[in-house]
């Protein structure tokens, strides 16, 4: 990007241009192969562990306040005996044209130079605008300061802030792991290698359904997968340009083939 963009208006305009992030060093991308994902939800629990996500209890869950940054959504089609149940893991799609960012009055949620949709906790004033604008229902609001019963808090990850009442949060693509890998690469005077950053969900996913990497890196696994015939993006007609790419589930019929 040439020159310095002075006003927020100018920046926004620049950042709204699809593909602007290609000019940056990284374009972090997640690929989820729905044909491999078996709905085991290990990703969900790994994310709780990595990101100090609070357990809110059944009353809060009943009010729809469960905190899962990544959830397994379930869809049912047909009637007995021809029923199909399908699962899809959904986390923040890190949209390149993120609806949530347009609404925040204090720029607590904005797009960073790595193509990530980030949330600044200590800037957030809790207007809930972003969550209302998000079409993917991935934003979670701290209605209370949720605490864990001692000594469960000893497990808290020191690399991740513990949030308090009034703050909005969501999947960060495990930005702390991205930062760590970038720092290390910088210290060693090299680029971040493909596969070096593994978000917690990706790391634990038993089926290998999730792959993470830099779409700007033409040698990366995600770059290769991005041209797979099965790719699609969630609710892509909304033109949010998500950084999460799904690979379609294959409806198999025996003796099957796919790319």
């Amino acid at each position: 990007m040439s020159g310095v963009l002075k006003t927020i208006g100018e920046r926004l305009k620049a950042f709204r241009v699809p593909g602007y992030y290609k000019k940056y060093d990284h374009y972090w991308t997640m690929v989820v192969d729905l044909d491999k994902c078996n709905g085991c939800a290990a990703c969900t629990v790994a994310c709780y562990a990595e990101n100090n996500i609070p357990v809110v209890g059944d009353d809060q869950c009943a009010k729809g306040r469960v905190f899962n940054w990544i959830r397994l959504e379930k869809y049912v089609e047909g009637e007995y005996p021809d029923v199909k149940i399908r699962h899809i893991p959904i986390m923040c799609q890190q949209c390149s044209k993120a609806p949530c960012e347009t609404g925040c009055p204090v720029y607590a949620t904005y797009h960073n130079q790595d193509g990530l949709n980030v949330q600044v906790y200590n800037r957030c004033v809790g207007t809930f605008t972003c969550a209302t604008y998000c079409p993917y229902d991935v934003r979670r609001f701290n209605w209370h300061t949720y605490t864990q019963e001692k000594p469960l808090e000893q497990q808290y990850n020191p690399d991740v802030t513990v949030r308090e009442m009034g703050v909005m949060e969501k999947c960060t693509f495990c930005i702390q792991r991205i930062r760590a890998a970038k720092d290390k690469a910088k210290d060693e005077g090299r680029k971040v290698q493909d596969g070096e950053v593994k978000p917690a969900c990706v790391q634990t996913c038993p089926t290998g359904a999730m792959i993470f990497g830099d779409l700007n890196d033409t040698g990366s696994e995600v770059y290769k997968l991005a041209s797979n015939a099965r790719t699609y993006r969630l609710l892509d007609d909304l033109n949010t340009v998500p950084s999460v790419i799904y690979l379609k589930k294959v409806s198999g019929n025996g003796g099957t083939t796919h790319g």
Partner: protein, 738 residues
């Protein structure tokens, strides 16, 4: 140290100052109450993470893990990337292992019973007093010549701790070791023994199969070795040879949801269905073996036409499965809980072995491969029924319980509570106050897996020899001891034969010594010049011992003659007349909870069940049609009644269950087990008959019919909103070529 993200894979050799108390002494190190960072140990650098290789003890699969430890606390558990079982991955339950360690409901000091048995009324005592009480009781039993009536009830042990326990019991002079947990896959192991001569659970090479027919094996969720099998499943679902999955079960499990085809056969008819498929393969000449004639006559009575009524699966479908499985090789059949949980469970698994024989899957790549390691032999005669019988008839002089909870996982009809009450002295070695421990006189709080030493030989294995090491990754959180050290110290105080048969100074030493054999073998194999200490330190870094081989194919034969005595006679039996109890009841383990062990972990309570999205509770699955005909709406409280009792739960209208069947998950309904588990949902096991197969020691979970009555509005918390995509194209599919 350079950067905070610098990964160190260090073993105990590098533990430095910490080694003193991690190794030998149990109990708290001096100064443990101080902030550990005031005088950091050599291995603690503030803000730096260390990674220790160890073993997941959340279930019996035996996944290798790496614990991320910072400032003396476990922050995260990951799969050990080099480990052949976990391959760097973990399941939801494994991820939550750290919540077992830091659980607020762990037992923090030894306890002595004050109130009535079963009430959980205890007073805290010192370790000294507790161990003296245990020793005194055992010494008294020895004096009265009742030592042969001492019982040990433990979770299955495949490593050093098992050896130590056997040594202890032999020293005392008792043969009564009952290894128990709900899912020991006893019918499967028994069937493999009688039809193929195999011990332990084999490796299912899902990764390389192209057609997988599963009879109720929910391997994506709870069955056998979920991480390893899910890994294989991911491999199977890729590339030019994407494998097909067909799942047979009356209630669609998570694995069923992933399947390309779901076959809701009538409950209890799965064994017959398997043999009808076998019949079709032989009949159509798709099996070319020399023994085809023997199979033709043996399978004569299972023709698809004759069984379609009983199985509720059409003749066409049976032939089409038979054809696909014969023409898409390598193909494989797996029999899971859905097959084993009937009173004819052995027959079901024998039928699967026959099928695998006919499609050439036994011993084949992409099929069923035996392990080259010894994960221990099962004593099929030591189920829970003979134990309860001995206790009820006054033939148990004392009981040592270790991490086993039959009071929760056996039906009321089994009379486990009554049996426990009859035993004069019970000591429980446990980390949590579970439903069995509330009967104990003395409770000895033990380390969790992340604080203890141990080792394991996985079963199911991976097709080549593996042995995993477990090492303490942090100092104990509470005043707990290693179960192994407790056995050693009680043996030493008892003296006599018990003491002389167990000489190790500590369990850590005992574990280490038990690796001398592996060391000798390794030296011979690798012709390496490592000293034992070097070998041991490498072991701790790596997380165990394995040889990085690919599984090899074998030749395994199933002969028609050997299996003829085990063929199913008909549909499995269900108690209760169909006029009074019109519906079949099928139970399954709740995702994350497994047999109930996960219920005290808040992450898992709040984890939506993948099939129903229910959190913090349990439910009864009813087909919407069945519910409508009874005026039951979603969330209504429904009483499910069998001839043996009733439980009440909210209804979940599940379209993927047979209309003549209701399902309930196992895992909730705890009366003890801590604040997160207690008084949530119901335990459906309570209302089962107790039918333990005397041959295998397995008892049938799906063995009764039930009736329903509606009971007003319930309180079921589920996460899902609409389950319809409404044309939004959320989960898109593409049809396969070919």
């Amino acid at each position: 140290m350079k950067r905070r993200d610098f990964l160190k894979f260090i073993g105990a050799g590098g533990l430095g100052a910490a080694a003193g108390f991690i190794f030998g002494r149990t109990g708290k190190p001096p100064g443990a109450k101080l902030m550990p960072v005031l005088i950091p140990d050599d291995n603690i650098t503030l803000g730096l993470a260390n990674y220790y290789s160890s073993l997941c003890t959340q279930c019996g699969a035996g996944c290798g893990i790496q614990a991320r430890v910072m400032d003396g606390r476990v922050k995260k558990i990951e799969g050990n990337p080099g480990h052949p079982v976990s391959k760097g991955k973990l399941c939801a339950l494994g991820q939550a292992g750290v919540q077992s360690l830091y659980n607020p409901d762990r037992i923090k000091t030894p306890l002595k019973r004050r109130g009535e048995r079963g009430t959980g009324d205890y007073v805290e005592i010192s370790w000294d007093e507790a161990l003296k009480a245990v020793t005194a009781n055992l010494a008294e039993i020895e004096k009265q010549k009742k030592a042969d009536k001492l019982f040990l009830l433990t979770s299955p042990q495949r490593g050093s701790l098992g050896g130590l326990m056997r040594g202890f019991m032999a020293g005392i002079g008792s043969a009564n070791i009952h290894e128990y947990e709900l899912s020991r896959y006893l019918n499967l192991q028994y069937a493999n023994k009688v039809s193929m001569g195999l011990d332990g659970l084999p490796y299912y090479d899902i990764a390389n199969t192209r057609y997988l027919l599963s009879f109720g094996a929910d391997f994506s969720s709870t069955w056998a070795s979920p991480v390893n099998m899910s890994y294989g499943y991911g491999q199977m679902r890729q590339g030019a040879h994407r494998g097909k999955l067909v799942q047979v079960e009356p209630r669609m499990s998570l694995t069923g949801a992933n399947a390309d085809e779901w076959v809701p056969a009538r409950p209890g008819s799965e064994a017959i269905l398997a043999l009808a498929i076998a019949h079709a393969i032989v009949e159509k000449g798709w099996y070319k073996g020399a023994d085809a004639g023997a199979w033709r006559s043996l399978l004569g009575r299972y023709s698809p036409k004759d069984v379609q009524e009983m199985t509720d699966v059409s003749t066409e479908r049976i032939y089409s499965i038979a054809k696909e499985i014969s023409s898409n090789k390598p193909s494989m059949v797996i029999g899971g809980d859905g097959l084993a949980s009937y009173d004819n469970g052995i027959s079901g698994h024998v039928a699967v072995n026959i099928l695998n024989h006919l499609i050439g899957a036994n011993g084949a790549i992409g099929g069923v491969l035996p392990n080259d390691h010894d994960s221990g032999k099962v004593d099929f005669k030591r189920g829970i029924a003979p134990f309860n019988q001995a206790a009820l008839s006054g033939n148990a002089s004392a009981l040592i319980v270790h991490n086993a909870n039959p009071a929760f996982t056996t039906p009321v009809a089994a009379k486990t509570g009554e049996a426990l009450r009859k035993i004069p002295f019970i000591v429980s070695l446990t980390s949590f106050m579970d439903e069995t421990s509330v009967y104990a006189d003395i409770i000895l709080p033990i380390h969790t897996g992340l604080e203890d030493w141990g080792d394991d030989t996985p079963s199911p294995g991976v097709g080549f020899p593996v042995r995993t090491i477990m090492q303490p990754v942090v100092t104990p959180v509470y005043d707990t001891k290693s179960a192994g050290d407790i056995f050693l110290s009680v043996a030493a105080s008892l003296g006599g034969k018990t003491a002389s048969s167990l000489k190790a100074g500590s369990f850590a030493q005992y574990v280490k010594d038990s690796w001398q054999g592996a060391y000798a073998k390794d030296r011979a194999m690798a012709s390496s010049a490592l000293t034992f200490e070097e070998f041991w330190n490498n072991l701790l870094k790596k997380g165990g011992w394995w040889t990085d081989q690919e599984p090899k194919k074998r030749s395994i034969n199933v002969s028609a003659q050997a299996v003829s005595a085990y063929l199913p006679q008909g549909q499995a039996k269900f108690d209760g007349k169909d006029t009074d109890y019109p519906l079949y009841l099928v139970l399954y383990q709740q995702h994350g909870m497994r047999d109930g062990r996960g219920a005290n972990l808040p992450w898992l309570q709040e984890l939506a069940d993948p099939t129903t999205t229910v959190v913090w509770g349990s439910w009864v699955d009813i087909n919407p049609k069945t519910a409508a005909s009874r005026g039951i709406k979603e969330g209504d409280l429904v009483t499910v009644e069998s001839p043996y009792g009733k439980v009440t739960l909210p209804a979940y209208l599940y379209p993927a269950i047979r209309p003549d069947t209701v399902g309930m998950p196992i895992g909730q309904g705890h009366s003890a087990y801590g604040r997160f588990a207690r008084s949530r949902g119901a335990n459906p096991i309570e209302i089962l008959p107790f039918k333990e197969d005397a041959r295998s020691g397995a008892y049938a979970l799906n063995s009764t019919r039930v009736r329903l009555s509606s009971n007003g509005k319930g309180n079921m918390v589920k996460i899902e909103g609409s389950t319809k995509e409404l044309g939004r194209g959320i989960i898109r599919t593409v049809s396969s070529k070919g």
